[in-house]
Homo-oligomer: 143 residues x 2
Amino acid sequence: MTAACELCEESGGEILFRNEQLRVVLVADANYPGFCRVIWNAHVKEMTDLAIEDRSTLMRAVCQVEAALREVMQPEKINLACLGNMVPHLHWHLIPRFSDDAHFPHPVWAPAVRQTVDGVLSHRRALLPALRAAVTRHVSCAS
Amino acid sequence: MTAACELCEESGGEILFRNEQLRVVLVADANYPGFCRVIWNAHVKEMTDLAIEDRSTLMRAVCQVEAALREVMQPEKINLACLGNMVPHLHWHLIPRFSDDAHFPHPVWAPAVRQTVDGVLSHRRALLPALRAAVTRHVSCAS
């Protein structure tokens, strides 16, 4: 644990899966239902700070969550990113992208180009119970 | 090869390494000397469209390029991203980030917050010959 690191001190979202090495959380983002993060529990900064077998474990979990997102939400594209400029504690963003989302085809960190209509967002939010179940199933099976 | 896919038709940058499965290219970005991409040669859309052993091969190359970037450029942080909303052909962005770069601590796709001074960018560009050599050495050794 590192003082003043929010991913050491807090879960980072609604926990869908957790073991000794990592956790998967669902992020509360009004524009991006299904936005998940895979967070390495220990305070490590970069992928190459991990032992090679731990990199594989982490990426396997990222791919398992990607599979769950595709199965349940059927997005146009999956976006994966490991940034950590503000919180240098190893974590992956997994964002299901749709052609009508707020930033498509730009990254979610670019300025928004539209407001997705409420009915569409409500429909996607209604998939979250199925997504929670799918993430737990995919990640638990192989870890 | 898929018609009208720019990563099927073009290299995507200056090739630093290429084998049958993937290539590593250096991107010409005035604000981000050292910006590299690891591109899967075949037209595949998502990480989970790859066989598991191919995902490992690709991420091993990403980590080898990350190691080369850290060794030569000593950035504040490495940013990794697999987006592909505009070009849905599997590729990874690897961006060495510095506290004085145009967007730090925000992602490079957010609005710029400063202009890095020319002398600093020139110093980073002067590291590119060493980066080319390091990428070739890191990726060739273990693939």
